[in-house]
Structures are given as C-alpha cells and as structure tokens.
C-alpha cells in the first residue's frame, strides 16, 4: 500500500522555481531517501509535503489530496516533519517539547509512556528533561526534535539532515536510534541526508534529485557505489 505519493510536484519561492517535477512514493512502513547535491531540491520536497512552500502537481497521503493544506493540518493527518536545523522550542523544557509533540493526542496515559520511550531511545536526554531546549548540545537538540516528532505518533516522519553540524559519532548514534525507532514503531520515513552511509543505513530505496527533478530511483543496494550517486553528492 502506498502511503505517500508525489506526482510531478513543482514548488517555488517567489519567482524562483526550485522543484521542477519531483515524483516519488513511500509505501506504508517503508523508508525512502532523497539524495542529491546542495540546491537540488531535497529540503524543498519535504517542505512541499508539510505545506510550508507554494506547490503545484499532486501530493496524496493516506488516500487524500494534501497539496495546499496548512502545516498544522498536514501534521494532523499524521505527518511529522523534523526540519533542517532541528526547530526545537528553545525556551521550553525538554519535557514540554515532547508534550507539544503530543498536542493533538487525546490518550494522556499513553503519552506518558511514550515520553519514557523517548528517554529510553535517547538516554542523553534523561538528565535534561527539565532543561530548556536551547541549553542542549546540537546532538541533544536533534534527538529532542526526533523525539518530539515521534510523540505525535505519525504515520510518516519527514527527516531533514539529521546529521547536520554533528560530530560523526553523535550523528551515528542519532541514526542508530532512529533505525531502532523505525523497527519498533513501523513509522514510514522520508529521509534527506547528505551523508550517504548514514542515509543507506536507514532507507530501503532512494531517489536522486538534480536541479529539482528525479534523475534516478532505485533500491539502496542498487544505488550504493553507483557513479551517479557520487556525482550527486559531489555536485558534479
């Protein structure tokens, strides 16, 4: 079953067109990567889905058209976006950030359990539950951002450059936790990642973007080591 399907999606910031017909699909419980050089339109593709950029084409999620919805309406349908640069709520505590993630949920008891799950998934956050998010390290903020997205119990997680600005070992730890989250929760994921090794550790299939279009789509195994991939990452 297809959960998310983009058909020839275009997007522009003012007069600047960034997406020029991107198509991709994410099956239920699947994990798909978006690869490509800087400026290829990876982040914009995620923003098109979550409703934070003006878009054309067709975006279907869970059997309904979601193009043109507001970000909070998209979130309410079960899509959680972890934006580039984390977007934690700096003046709120770690616990409050997680509670904001669960804002739309009505099952209060399960929410408490899921907070414990987040802290188990990211043990570094355990001592920091009362600290304000702005006081956390970059890695801890990234963990918190992922944890907050999980708290919404989404069907689909949009993950944008979770390794950005992190030390390699921290980035690896973050991805290991996300992989565990995927296995244990079955949440589908659409992953933008510059680091190919990290990306392939998490996704089953991937599509490569170049100047706002798909140029290649295949399974992780097929794509690993292909010349186009190297070119895409090096921007050549």
């Amino acid at each position: 079953m297809t959960l998310l399907e983009l058909t020839v999606v275009t997007a522009s910031y003012g007069p600047l067109q960034v997406l020029d017909g991107v198509s991709l699909s994410v099956p239920e419980g699947g994990s798909v990567g978006i690869l490509g050089a800087n400026g290829a339109g990876k982040t914009t593709t995620l923003r098109a889905i979550s409703g934070t950029v003006r878009t054309g084409g067709r975006i279907r999620f869970d059997g309904r058209d979601i193009r043109g919805l507001r970000p909070d309406q998209v979130a309410a349908l079960g899509i959680a976006h972890v934006p580039e640069g984390r977007g934690t709520l700096g003046q709120l505590s770690v616990r409050e950030n997680l509670l904001v993630g669960a804002y739309l949920r009505k099952d209060r008891k399960a929410v408490a359990g899921d907070i414990d799950y987040c802290l188990d998934l990211f043990p570094q956050l355990q001592d920091r539950v009362g600290s304000r998010a702005a006081a956390l390290s970059g890695g801890e903020q990234q963990m918190l951002a992922v944890g907050r997205a999980f708290m919404a119990k989404p069907k689909l997680l949009l993950l944008d450059e979770a390794s950005l600005g992190l030390a390699p070992s921290t980035a690896k730890a973050v991805y290991e936790a996300i992989r565990r989250l995927r296995l244990e929760s079955g949440i589908a994921m659409l992953v933008v990642e510059q680091n190919a090794n990290l990306a392939f550790s998490l996704v089953d299939t991937a599509t490569v973007l170049e100047t706002g279009r798909n140029v290649l789509t295949g399974s992780s195994a097929e794509l690993k080591g292909m010349d186009e991939i190297r070119r895409a990452y090096l921007g050549g």
């Binding site: 970000p71 979130a75 959680a80 409050e96 509670l99 904001v100 804002y103």
Partner: protein
C-alpha cells in the same frame, strides 16, 4: 510611622493598577512574543464599553461581563486582521504597529466619548477599614485581591495547562509549533483575546478611581512596562511584585526625598530598572533567554 504605613498601603493600591496592566502585557508577550503598547488604550476602550452598557441601565456586573466578552473578540480580531500581517516579519515592526494602534484606539475613544472625565461606578463599596493604623479603602483591597487571583490563574494557565503550553510553544517558534499540529493562527488569536480580556478587567477595576478619560491608562502603561521589564517578561508573579514595589517606592520617594518630590517620582522606577538590569539582565524573576547557534 503612621504616615509611613499609609504611604506603603497607598503605594500597594496604585501598584495593583500597574500590575493589572503589566499582567496583560506579559500574557501577550508569552503568547505571541510581542510587547503590545496598545494594551492600555484597549483596556480604556473596554472600560468605555462597560460604561455605555451601564448608561443603558444594565447592572454594573452584567455590563462588565459584556465588555469582557466583547474585549476578547476585539483582541482576537486585532490579531487576525492587523497584527497577522506583521507577525512573520521583523518583531520591531510589529511593536511599532502596536504603538500606532494605541494612538488609534485612544483617538477612537476620544471621538466617541470626548476628553471630559466620566464617573465610572465601582464594583466595591467605598467604605474603608483600618489596618495597622492605616486607612485602606475596601475598593483598593478588593482590587489588590482580584489582581493576585488573576496572577495565580495566569501562572497556572501557562505552566499547568495544555493551552498554556501551546501558547508558549507558538510564541517560541510558530513555524516549528505548526509541525506538531498546533493551529498557530487560532492560538495567537486566543492569546490576544485573553490579554484584551485581562486588560478589560484592569480597565473597569481602576476606572472608578482614575475616572474615565481616553488617556486614563497612559501613565499607568509607562509604570506597567517598567514593572514588566523589572519583573521579567516571562513571569506573572515577578511583574506583580515589581508593580507593587514601584507603587510603594514612588510614594515613599515623593514624600521623603524632597529633591525628587511628586514631579520627578516617575523617574524613580526607571532609575531602578537601570540598576537592576545591569545586575540581572533577565529581570528579577525572568528566565534568561539562551540562544545557541
């Protein structure tokens, strides 16, 4: 000694006027990240609306309730149709817009009701009681109690309720809050509506004492802003404590330091702010804003 206690008690009474307005300013700041300079002007408009309904023969309490409800709507509409256009841009622009709004609202009050002082009936009896040798009017006492109740309710709203959490999340980072499904626009409207409600309560509480004029709260706004800065923008309790301190201090200084007297006493809270902000930039009770890049 009798004079001293009387001055302190009177100071606390005026302080509670500043506190009422300061609480509304803190509420808007916590819920939207802005400082609303029009808060006082909007509160005066609310008091005029209550006045109109009293003139129509409605009981005072009912008139106040109607005014409070209308104020909520007015605050929400101001956010939706005026501030909404400026929220995504530079916060400084939005603050200047609120100053313009203050001028506009004050002007509207003046056009509709003129500049003459109007007598506004008090909710509380005008009798006084004696506490520690000082004469305290029941009205001042009741006003102070009302302010403390509102302060506690606000503190609980922000720290203990889901709505409060959502309001703070939206003020912190609206774009990020939307990713968790928070209806940002509606929450901002609620924040402004609640602040206008609070302003309305402040307006009708102090109108009997100050008598109703379009500029009734202009001076109080200055003191309220001082209290907000002094107490910390994020702390309802802090701004009430600061407002009371300012009320008491200006009274004592005016009488005991002849050099300052009644003419210069408005400068006192600002001298105090100057000193305190050098020592504690986040205000007495505020939380330090930490930004990591």
């Amino acid at each position: 000694m009798g004079t001293f206690i009387q001055l302190v008690v009177d100071g606390l009474a005026t302080g509670s006027i500043y506190a009422a307005l300061a609480l509304a300013i803190v509420l808007v700041n916590q819920a939207t990240g802005l400082i609303n300079f029009a808060q006082g002007g909007m509160a005066v408009l609310s008091a005029y609306i209550a006045y109109v309904f009293v003139q129509l023969g409605l009981p005072l309490l009912l008139a106040i309730i109607i005014s409070v409800v209308l104020s909520f709507l007015f605050g929400a509409l101001v956010e939706r149709f005026l501030l909404r256009r400026f929220e995504r841009g530079d916060p400084d622009t939005a603050v200047v817009v609120t100053i313009g709004l203050l001028t506009l609202v004050t002007g509207i009050s003046a056009v509709l009701w003129g500049y003459n002082n109007l007598a506004f009936p008090s909710l509380f009896p005008l009798t006084s009681v004696e506490i520690l040798g000082a004469v305290v009017s029941v009205r001042s006492l009741a006003t102070a109690v009302t302010i403390v109740v509102i302060m506690v309710v606000l503190q609980l709203l922000f720290l203990r309720t889901k709505l409060g959490l959502a309001l703070r999340a939206v003020a912190d980072n609206p774009a990020s809050a939307a990713f968790s499904g928070l209806p940002v626009g509606r929450l901002l409207m609620v924040g402004w509506g609640l602040a206008a409600t609070l302003g309305a309560i402040a307006g009708v509480l102090v109108a009997p004492q100050l008598t109703l004029t379009p500029g009734m709260l202009d001076t109080a706004l200055v003191y309220a802003l001082a209290a907000v800065i002094l107490g910390g923008l994020s702390s309802p309790i802090g701004c009430v404590v600061a407002a009371s301190a300012i009320g008491v201090l200006e009274n004592l200084v005016a009488v005991y330091i002849p050099l300052i007297g009644h003419d210069l006493k408005i400068a006192v809270p600002f001298a105090l702010i100057f000193v305190i902000l050098i020592i504690r930039p986040q205000g007495l009770f505020g939380r330090k804003v930490v930004v990591r890049v």
